[in-house]
Amino acid sequence: MSEKFKLSKKYIIMNLLSWFAILFFLSISLVSEINFFKDHITAAVLIVVFVTLLSIPISILLWTSKYFSVNEKEILFCFGIFFKKKISLRFDKISNIKIERNLIDIILGISKLKINSGSVVSTGSEIKLSLDNSYAEVLKNFFDYVLKNPQQPVLENFPLPQKYSLVKKGDALCKEFTTKEKLLMPLITSGSVIATLIIITAMVMVLFFGKFTDLGTESFEFELDLKRFNSAYLGWKIFAIMSVVIISYAARVLYLILKYYNFSLVRNGDQIHLKYGLINQRNYTININKINSVIIKQSLFQRLFRYGEFSLSFVGNFIGDDNNRDNKPTRALIPMIKIDYLKPFMQKYLNEFYKEFEVIKPKRHRMLHFVWIPMLSILIPAILANLLLTVLEIPVILIPAITAGTYVLAFIGQLFMMSCAGLGYNDDLILISNGMYTKTTYLIKKSAIQYMKITAGPIRRKQMLCGLLIRYKETFSFIFAKHYDLDLATKLENDLCLD
């Protein structure tokens, strides 16, 4: 397995604690030398600050340098910043495996998994992995199993770290959400970000530009005046906005916990079982052969945090354990998945969709992308802005400002769009990535594709470029890939239509 697994992040804290312990003893020794402390107080403080500042990057570097990987025959452990070391230990040479915990480990919730070869010349354990408690136990059980059953394939059964959100449940590996994921989810999903922006905008409009007039008889009149900024009670107003944002965030966390309560995803032979929800319980049993596409969606914030939403589009959902089958195209969603762990996740659950692709980027056309499209996309906002300014009687000078602003936004949008786009295909699958701020990647089974459209406007035609529109077995499943060579489109067309 080429996959490299890192140790628990808590290892950084453990390392920092040992640095602080050194610092503590250093301080004690300095205090005992009263004269030194008295005379060189600034120097002492500087030493403490310097050691503290130094300890953080060193601890992080130490953590990043340590990783382990597994292949069919051996376990590999690499470590070291300046002096790099790589230990490979064959499974059949493992003498003993043990888990150790000291007081700090117990407090932090980590375990040291020690793997020894029994070599008399080495001191201590050959491989020492600081892992989360549960994963250390799972890994120890796995190595015990491998030692007892040397003929069994290793990679197929290798338990992935908990960071991959895969938890052992009975005989199957499941995906579950960590507390961090549960808290991050409402912060970085597109809907939540938009909802927060709407809340903030609405509150800013009401609090800073609104005017309440007391009409007596317990009634008020509200008036919005965009020309007048009301800065009275500024602190209280900001506090009110922040309170509402925090409350709405907490409400969304609660909602998502209820929605994805007890989330479990299990692959059992040809079937994937997906179950979640407390109030509205969702229960999907998906036949792997009925999956038409795998969709990975990443909002701008999710891209920053390297998370994504993962959904499966399929036909024929067996609801629960009975034979009640829904033949409508459905999408089952895994709302949060770390993009770095997508590869092992796909290998484990959807090996059929895990293929290497040569991704072709769209052709960049300067005139089209950075002149025409932004120009056209500002046409409507510019007209609307003009109309708005005429009605609100706002100075005309703002018209070019709004128009230029929209143009810059559209220009940046085109850059984002180009970075998101990609197309690839092999014998079974087509990969299409598109989007502007939200990137969506589709992995579609070729056999599910029902229709294809090749479209080209006057500018694209001149450059022998085209747009590809693909429909597969899903309602409203238009997937658009823009700015690709016409030859590529024709090749794809023949590929799809021939047997």
């Binding site: 229709y451 080209a456 899903e474």
Partner: protein, 163 residues
């Protein structure tokens, strides 16, 4: 089969249909402008009139010029592997449906098309509809038979491969 043109009568059908909608739009615009003339300032009225005028010109081109251009560009081809329809005026489109994905075929005739003796052939796959608009009813039936025979060959081939 080479790329085929549709019937010329389709231009007149499009002209008739679009003219009806254009007339409704024109009446709406005139009523709207009359209302605005009495309710908003002269500056804003001139501004809206210019926008409405440009829109009307655009719709007029769509109504009276586009049917000729659509006819000129619209082509279809049916072969043993796929159905291809070429369309569009400014943006040229090429729609492709693989024969092996076809679920069912439908021949449709609306009231106006019945007058002109034309029909539409709708080809359905599991996720899309492809229309061949403006062909004679007899041609549509012929094409439907042709598609069915191609589909039979494809299915037979697929069955033999799976066996």
């Amino acid at each position: 089969m080479e790329f085929q043109k549709i019937e010329k009568k389709m231009i007149y059908i499009r002209l008739v249909c679009r003219s009806i909608f254009f007339l409704i739009y024109l009446i709406g615009v005139l009523i709207g402008l009359n209302f605005l003339y009495h309710s908003v300032g002269l500056g804003l009225f001139i501004y809206i009139t210019i926008i409405a005028g440009l829109l009307t010109l655009f719709f007029a081109v769509l109504t009276f010029v586009f049917p000729f251009l659509i006819y000129k560009i619209y082509r279809y081809q049916i072969n043993e592997d796929k159905i291809i329809v070429k369309s569009g005026v400014i943006f040229l489109n090429k729609d492709i449906i693989p024969i092996k994905r076809i679920q069912h075929i439908e021949i449709m005739q609306g009231p106006i098309k019945q007058i002109f003796g034309l029909s539409t052939l709708n080809v359905y796959s599991a996720g899309s509809i492809q229309r061949i608009i403006g062909i004679k009813k007899e041609t549509a039936e012929l094409l439907a038979d042709q598609i069915k025979s191609y589909l039979d060959i494809k299915l037979e081939k697929a069955e033999n491969t799976s066996v």
